[in-house]
């Protein structure tokens, strides 16, 4: 893990009407690290990913990615510059096959076309365990497979930074460690990860740093176990009887 910030977020704010979902957010994501994000429901976590991914525009603040100011770039340009993401509520291209869904990521944002693109797509499907469904219509997938598809598409874009929004929800206790392992390998292969998850034990076991958001502000950021012990985090997010990693 190096200390060069891959992504620096500076003074990022976003307000919907009277609802403040991001208020003066400033933090860095370092090259090659895995940053976990937790926070109460409605804290602004998904909004933050939307801001970084370029799906929504900030009211103020700036974003630097890989040495480039991306504040004004659209979602497609950001994807091309190396930001991949998954959506909390999956958004498959229902009229395409699973393979074609992934190939869109590989060929557009990933810019690998033809054979190379096919291989990249194949690999993403294999990694996420979707290969056997490659020829299925994405619209027919079950929720869980849709989530996997989110991940597969993001991987196919060859991201430098991947933004993951609750991809573990709905996984069985046995599948979660596999996912954690996948993320670890991803990080090991040099991809920077920002991961939102409410299944805290999964998150904590995979990330280098943890950030807790509440009401659009950073409540705590730092070493995962430190953050988890913070009384504010416990109060607004974890509750008293935090279910810890307790595998069957």
């Amino acid at each position: 893990m190096t200390t060069t910030p891959l992504l620096s977020v500076r003074g990022l704010s976003k307000q919907f009407g009277r609802v403040i979902t991001a208020e003066d957010l400033t933090f860095d994501v370092h090259q090659g690290e895995a940053l976990g994000i937790v926070g109460p429901n409605g804290a602004g976590k998904s909004t933050l990913l939307n801001l970084i991914g370029g799906v929504i525009e900030p009211d103020s603040g700036s974003l630097m990615f890989d040495g480039q100011d991306i504040t004004r770039l659209g979602a497609a340009e950001r994807a091309k510059s190396g930001i991949g993401r998954s959506f909390q509520i999956p958004r498959p291209f229902t009229g395409m096959t699973v393979f074609e869904n992934v190939y869109v990521g590989a060929s557009f944002a990933g810019d690998t076309r033809g054979q190379a693109g096919y291989e990249r797509s194949y690999q993403a499907l294999e990694t996420t365990g979707l290969l056997h469904l490659a020829e299925h219509r994405a619209g027919q997938l079950r929720l869980l497979d849709r989530k996997r598809l989110e991940l597969a598409r993001a991987l196919a874009t060859k991201p430098k930074l991947i933004l993951l929004d609750e991809i573990a929800g709905g996984l069985t206790e046995r599948e979660i460690p596999q996912l954690v392992e996948t993320i670890r390998q991803l990080v090991a292969s040099g991809v920077t990860v920002v991961w939102i998850e409410h299944i805290v034990h999964a998150l904590v076991s995979a990330v280098d740093r943890l950030m807790c958001l509440a009401e659009g502000r950073i409540l705590a950021i730092g070493d995962p176990s430190e953050v988890m012990k913070s009384p504010e985090v416990i109060e607004v997010y974890l509750g008293s009887t935090m279910a810890t990693a307790e595998d069957i």
């Binding site: 937790v38 429901n41 409605g42 046995r174 997010y237 974890l238 509750g239 009887t241 279910a243 307790e246």
Partner: protein
């Protein structure tokens, strides 16, 4: 007497059979947890009880009456209410309106806007927000509140803790006894087996559309559950 009797049902999606000769009974006031791996047929079971899917074979009886042929919207007045997988919040309605729609059948009982807001203070603050804008967790809480608003005798909860902050999950499960205390029978589907075991009087484990294990949490060993769960 059993409030709900699911009697040897087969459920299909087109040619694909999702449930094979499944039988389950739930007694009035009881909390039954249904667990099982992905695709085991848990959601299908709940949807069949709620009337969205119809069994091709077998019967669903509620309070002694065969309701297998009854449309979903006619089961709500009887006291069956489902919190569907994936929340299914009405996006163009405010959260409060979502709750009010939940009370559409006007079944009398403990639950109303006030009691729901007490249980989910999160919602009280955001009642005028549109469903489409609500965060995942806000939506989940609304979905449960909405189901409660019909004052069901039988509450069907499908993976309600999905996407919720730990503290909210804790609150919901803390609220479950409270819900049960109103005389509501609860059938909960949960991925998190520990959670399920904690709240349930009885557990049913499904594997590929069949019931493979049934019993009281205290009587079941971890190994039993694990093998039933994964079919090892």
């Amino acid at each position: 007497m059993a409030l709900l009797e699911v009697d040897a049902i087969d459920v299909h999606y087109g040619d694909f059979q999702a449930i094979y000769g499944l039988s389950i009974t739930v007694d009035e006031g009881e909390t039954l947890a249904v667990i099982g791996a992905n695709g085991a047929g848990k959601s299908t079971l709940l949807k069949t009880i709620a009337g969205i899917n119809r069994p091709r074979v077998g019967e669903v009886r509620f309070d002694g009456a065969n309701i297998s042929g009854l449309a979903a919207h006619r089961r709500v007045p009887l006291g069956i209410s489902l919190t569907p997988e994936g929340r299914r919040i009405f996006p163009s309605l405010t959260l409060e309106e979502n709750l009010l729609v939940g009370g559409h059948t006007k079944r009398p009982g403990y639950w109303n806007l006030t009691t729901v807001y007490e249980t989910f203070p999160l919602l009280a603050d955001r009642r005028s927000r549109l469903g489409v804008h609500a965060s995942g967790g806000e939506q989940q809480a609304t979905a449960i509140g909405r189901a409660l608003m019909s004052n069901p005798r039988l509450l069907l909860l499908d993976e309600v803790s999905l996407g919720l902050a730990p503290i909210v999950v804790e609150n919901i499960y803390a609220a479950l006894p409270n819900i049960s205390a109103q005389g509501t029978t609860v059938l909960v589907v949960e991925q998190d087996v520990n959670q399920a075991l904690k709240v349930a009087n009885r557990v049913h484990c499904l594997l590929e559309g069949r019931s493979v294990l049934e019993g009281k949490p205290a009587e079941l060993s971890r190994e039993q559950i694990a093998s039933a769960y994964f079919g090892i």
